[in-house]
C-alpha cells in the first residue's frame, strides 16, 4: 500500500495486522451467505462484466454481440457468452459523520473511522471494489468505487479529510442511496441516534442495493452526566436545549432509551435479513471488526 501521512485515529491502523486480518477474513467469508455478518455476495454470478463466466443457450432478447459463434457451431445451437457480474463485488461503505458521532469524547467517531478504513482494506485485499460515502443529513464526502492499493490511499485521504471538517446535524443513511447501485453491497457505520429512527433509511438502502450490513456504534458516555449538577443539555446536532437536574435515575432512563433504540434497529434489521452488529465505542477496532466478520449476526461487542 502507498504511504500516506496520517494522524490519529487512522494512524493507529497497523498495516501488518490489517493484512493478517484480511487473510483470515478471506477464508471466513468464502461462500458465506450474504445474510450473515460480514458476508459477501458471491463473486461469480452472471451479469454485466468483462470476465467470462460460462455459456448458455441463446434466448430471445440476448444481445447478438454476446453470441459465441464457435460454441454455436460446435453444439449446433445458438450459444451466448455470459460474464461475471462485476457489480456484485462493489461495496459502498457509509460512515455516519453527524455531530453525535463526535460527542462524548469522540470514541464513536474514532472507532467509525478505523472500522471504515479497516473494512476498506479487507475488501480491497479480497479484490472487491470499494466506494466510501460520509453522510449526515446529506452526503458530506464521496470516494468513487475503485480497487487496489492506490484506491485504499484515496479512501484514507477522504477519511482523513472527513476527520478534519465539521460534522452535519443529522444522521440520514438514506442520503447514500443515490450512490448505491442494484447489486452493490452496503455497510452502514452509524451510532443510530436519529430522532425519527433509522429504519426507513436502512430499508431504503436495502431496497436500493443487494446487500446491506449495519454496524451500530454505541457509547455509554452518551447517557452519562456529571453528578449533582443543574445542567442544560445541548443537542450537538440540533442545538436544542433541555434543563435537567442530573441524577442517576435520569441517566438510567436515558440508557433505557438508548437500549430501546438499539433493539428497535436490531429488530428491524433481523426482520429484513440485514446483518446487524452492535459495538461498544470503547472496543478496539480489531475486536469490533472480527466480531462483525464472525459467522453470527446481531451480536454485541
Amino acid at each position: 500500500m502507498a504511504e500516506l501521512a496520517l494522524t490519529e485515529p487512522l494512524a493507529a491502523l497497523d498495516q501488518t495486522e490489517l493484512k493478517r486480518l484480511a487473510g483470515v477474513a478471506g477464508k471466513w467469508l468464502a461462500g458465506r451467505s450474504s445474510t450473515m455478518g460480514g458476508g459477501r455476495p458471491h463473486r461469480r454470478q452472471p451479469g454485466r462484466g468483462l470476465e467470462f463466466f460460462d455459456h448458455r443457450p441463446y434466448v430471445a432478447g440476448d444481445e447478438v454481440r454476446h453470441v459465441d459463434w464457435r460454441q454455436t457451431a460446435r453444439r449446433d445451437t445458438p450459444m451466448v457468452r455470459r460474464f461475471v457480474h462485476e457489480a456484485s463485488t462493489d461495496w459502498l461503505i457509509c460512515l455516519d459523520c453527524s455531530a453525535s458521532m463526535q460527542s462524548a469524547g469522540q470514541q464513536k467517531w474514532t472507532l467509525g473511522l478505523q472500522l471504515a478504513a479497516a473494512i476498506s482494506y479487507l475488501l480491497l485485499y479480497l479484490g472487491d471494489r470499494v466506494a466510501l460515502a460520509g453522510f449526515s443529513e446529506a452526503l458530506d464526502a464521496v470516494c468513487r468505487p475503485g480497487r487496489g492499493a492506490g484506491h485504499y490511499t484515496r479512501l484514507l485521504m477522504v477519511l482523513r479529510d472527513l476527520s478534519r471538517q465539521p460534522r452535519g446535524n443529522a444522521s440520514k443513511p438514506g442520503a447514500c442511496a443515490p450512490l448505491a447501485r442494484r447489486g452493490d453491497a452496503t455497510i452502514v457505520i452509524t451510532d443510530g441516534l436519529s430522532a425519527e429512527g433509522m429504519q426507513a433509511d436502512i430499508a431504503l438502502l436495502a431496497a436500493q442495493c443487494a446487500h446491506v450490513q449495519v454496524l451500530h456504534l454505541e457509547d455509554p458516555l452518551d447517557t452519562t452526566l456529571p453528578s449533582s449538577l443543574s445542567l442544560r443539555l445541548v443537542d450537538v446536532e440540533t442545538r436544542r436545549t433541555l434543563s435537567v437536574a442530573s441524577s442517576e435515575a435520569l441517566s438510567g432512563a436515558a440508557r433505557a432509551a438508548q437500549r430501546n433504540i438499539a433493539e428497535t434497529l436490531r429488530g428491524h434489521c433481523l426482520a429484513r435479513a440485514i446483518p446487524y452488529t452492535r459495538v461498544n465505542a470503547a472496543t478496539h477496532w480489531r475486536d469490533a471488526l472480527l466480531d462483525h466478520l464472525r459467522p453470527s449476526a446481531g451480536r454485541h461487542v
Binding site: 452518551d222 456529571p226 443543574s230 445542567l231 443537542d235 436545549t241 437536574a245 432509551a257 433504540i261
Partner: protein
C-alpha cells in the same frame, strides 16, 4: 421569647417567592453537550418521579435564607427577658468626688446603685459619662459596676447631658448625681429616668477658683497677682491661703461668708510658678490648690537678624512680653529679619520679615490704612514709603495692607509652619519712626506673628464656673417610665447578620465549586 421591634419589615420576605421564581429562570445550569437530546427528553417524560424539568436552581434555598436572615436583622429581633438593659448616667463633675463618710460621693453612689439594682444585670448595664459623651463602660455584674465607678475619672469638661428625645427608649435609664449642678437637675426633670441615685450632704467647700497675673504698671518685670477664692458653704467659715512664688510668700487667714468670694492680691516676679493653697483641706481637696505656671507669664525670646534700624529694635524692646536679649544660637520664639526680598532666611519659627526696598519705594502722600477687620484696622499710616511684597511666591498669603499694585503687608500661614509677617514698608524712614503709629504697627505685627497678645497681657488659670459648688441643693426628678415589652430584650440582630454572612460565604463556596466542576466536566462525570 422573641420579639421584633419593627415587624412590618418582615413584609420584605415577600421577595422570597419572587426569588424562587427568578431561580427557575436561572441559566438552566451548565451547558452539557449530549449526542441526542431525545434520549433525555424521553427519559424525563417517562420518569415517574425525581426529575422536574426547568426546576429552580437549588441555590434559591440559600439565597432565600440570606434574605430571611437580613429581614430578621432589619426587623430588630430581641431576645426578651425580664431583666431590661440599663444605662447609668454618671455625674462625674468634681462635686461627685467630695469625700463623705470615708468615700467619695461617686463610690457611695455606686454602692447605692448596686444595692438598688441588685444582681439584675440580665439585660446588660452600661455606664455613660455626663461630662464626656464618648466615654462609656459596660458592666456585667455588681463587682464590675463598683470597680468602674470607683475608678471613674473626673470630667474635664462641663456636663453635657444628652437630649431626652434622643435617649434610647428601649433601656432603663438611671442617674447618679449629687444634685449640685442645676443643669443636671433641669435635665432630670425631662429625661426618661427610671431611677435616680442622689447622694451627698456636705455643703461647705472653698476653692481656689482662679489665679491671674498682669504686668505691673510701675515695673514691667513685676507681676500683679490676684488669687480668687470661692466659697459655697451655707455657714461662715475660715480658711488660710498660702501663696508661693510671690515676692512676699506667706499665709493669710480670712473669713468666708456663705456664697461669698474673696480676692487675695500679691506681687511676683516673672518666671516663677505661683501656687495658692487653702488650709485646712475640705471635703473636696482637689480644688483647694491652683498653680499658675511660670511659662504663662514668660517673655517671648526674640532674635533680630539683618540690618534692622534702631527704631524697629526700640519698638520691639518696648513691648513688655518680648525679650530681645536672646543670645545667638539659642532657640528663639520670634525671629525678626530685615533684608532684601531675595535674602530673607528660611525658618520654622514665627517671624517678622521687613523687606528692604531694592529701589526707590513708592511714596504715599495720603494716609494709608487697612480696611480689613483685624489688628491693623485702626492704624493709619501717613506719608510712608512702601514697596509691594510678593514673597514668598506660592505661599498662602493674607494681605493685611494693600496698595493698588499689591500687598504692602501680608500674613503667611501654611500648614505645619509657623506664621510669618512680610512687611514692605520702609521701616528705616526716620520721620515715620517718630510717629505713634510706628510703634503701634510694630506691636500689632508682632502679635500677629507670635499669635498672642503682647501688649499688657493677663495670664490666668481658672476653674470652671461654679465648680466649687458641692451642696446638693437641687432635687433630682425620678419618674416611672414605660418600657415596652419589645424593648426590654437583648438585641440579637447581630446573630442574624452573622448567619446571613455565613450563608453568603457558603453560596460563594458552592458557586466556586460548581465553576470548577464545570471547567473539568470529564472529571466530574467520573471519566
Amino acid at each position: 421569647m422573641f420579639e421584633l421591634r419593627q415587624p412590618e419589615l418582615l413584609a420584605l420576605l415577600a421577595v422570597a417567592p419572587a426569588l424562587w421564581w427568578l431561580h427557575r429562570l436561572h441559566d438552566r445550569g451548565i451547558d452539557q453537550p449530549v449526542a441526542a437530546l431525545f434520549l433525555w427528553q424521553t427519559s424525563a417524560t417517562d420518569m415517574s418521579q425525581g426529575i422536574r424539568l426547568a426546576a429552580a436552581d437549588p441555590a434559591w434555598r440559600r439565597r432565600v435564607s440570606v434574605v430571611v436572615c437580613a429581614c430578621m436583622a432589619m426587623a430588630g429581633p430581641l431576645y426578651l427577658t425580664n431583666k431590661p438593659a440599663i444605662t447609668v448616667w454618671v455625674d462625674d463633675s468634681p462635686s461627685m468626688f467630695v469625700a463623705e463618710s470615708g468615700a467619695t460621693r461617686l463610690a457611695l453612689a455606686a454602692d447605692e446603685l448596686a444595692r438598688r439594682i441588685g444582681e439584675d444585670f440580665g439585660g446588660g448595664l452600661m455606664l455613660r459619662s455626663l461630662g464626656d459623651p464618648t466615654k462609656s463602660s459596660q458592666a456585667d455584674n455588681a463587682n464590675a459596676l463598683l470597680q468602674s465607678l470607683r475608678t471613674w475619672p473626673v470630667a474635664g469638661n462641663a456636663l453635657t447631658p444628652p437630649p431626652p428625645a434622643l435617649m434610647d427608649r428601649g433601656r432603663r435609664h438611671w442617674l447618679i448625681s449629687d444634685g449640685a449642678d442645676p443643669d443636671i437637675a433641669e435635665w432630670s426633670s425631662s429625661a426618661p429616668l427610671s431611677g435616680v441615685v442622689q447622694i451627698g450632704s456636705e455643703k461647705n467647700n472653698a476653692a481656689v477658683t482662679a489665679i491671674t497675673a498682669r504686668a505691673s504698671a510701675s515695673d514691667m518685670n513685676v507681676l500683679d497677682v490676684r488669687v480668687h477664692i470661692g466659697y459655697s458653704g451655707t455657714s461662715a467659715g475660715y480658711r488660710t491661703v498660702n501663696i508661693t512664688g510671690v515676692k512676699d510668700p506667706g499665709e493669710q487667714r480670712f473669713e468666708l461668708a456663705p456664697g461669698a468670694s474673696r480676692i487675695i492680691t500679691a506681687t511676683a516676679l516673672r518666671g516663677r510658678n505661683i501656687e495658692a493653697r487653702l488650709d485646712p483641706p475640705d471635703p473636696l481637696p482637689m480644688d483647694d490648690s491652683l498653680i499658675l505656671p511660670a511659662s504663662a507669664s514668660a517673655a517671648l525670646k526674640v532674635r533680630v537678624i539683618g540690618d534692622c534700624p534702631g527704631a524697629l529694635v526700640g519698638a520691639l524692646a518696648a513691648i513688655p512680653k518680648l525679650d530681645l536679649s536672646n543670645a545667638p544660637g539659642q532657640p528663639a520664639d520670634l525671629l525678626v529679619a530685615c533684608a532684601a526680598a531675595g535674602a530673607l532666611p528660611q525658618t520654622d519659627t514665627a517671624a517678622m520679615f521687613f523687606v528692604t526696598p531694592e529701589s526707590q519705594p513708592q511714596q504715599f502722600r495720603k494716609p494709608v490704612w487697612s480696611t480689613l477687620a483685624g489688628p491693623l484696622q485702626n492704624i493709619a499710616l501717613d506719608d510712608v514709603a512702601a514697596e509691594v511684597v510678593d514673597r514668598p511666591v506660592g505661599t498662602a498669603a493674607t494681605p493685611l495692607l494693600s496698595s493698588g499694585r499689591g500687598a504692602l503687608i501680608s500674613l503667611h500661614r501654611e500648614a505645619d509652619r509657623a506664621p510669618a509677617v512680610y512687611v514692605g514698608l520702609d521701616i528705616a524712614d526716620a520721620a515715620w519712626a517718630r510717629q505713634p503709629s510706628y510703634a503701634l504697627l510694630i506691636a500689632r505685627l508682632a502679635e500677629l506673628a507670635a499669635g498672642q497678645l503682647l501688649l499688657d497681657p493677663i495670664d490666668a488659670v481658672a476653674r470652671g464656673s461654679g465648680e466649687e459648688e458641692i451642696a446638693p441643693r437641687y432635687a433630682l426628678a425620678q419618674r416611672e417610665v414605660d418600657i415596652t415589652p419589645a424593648s426590654t430584650g437583648r438585641d440579637i440582630a447581630a446573630w442574624f447578620i452573622f448567619a446571613a454572612l455565613l450563608l453568603v460565604l457558603l453560596d460563594l463556596a458552592v458557586l466556586i465549586g460548581t465553576a470548577r466542576r464545570a471547567a473539568a466536566p470529564a472529571a466530574a462525570a467520573g471519566r
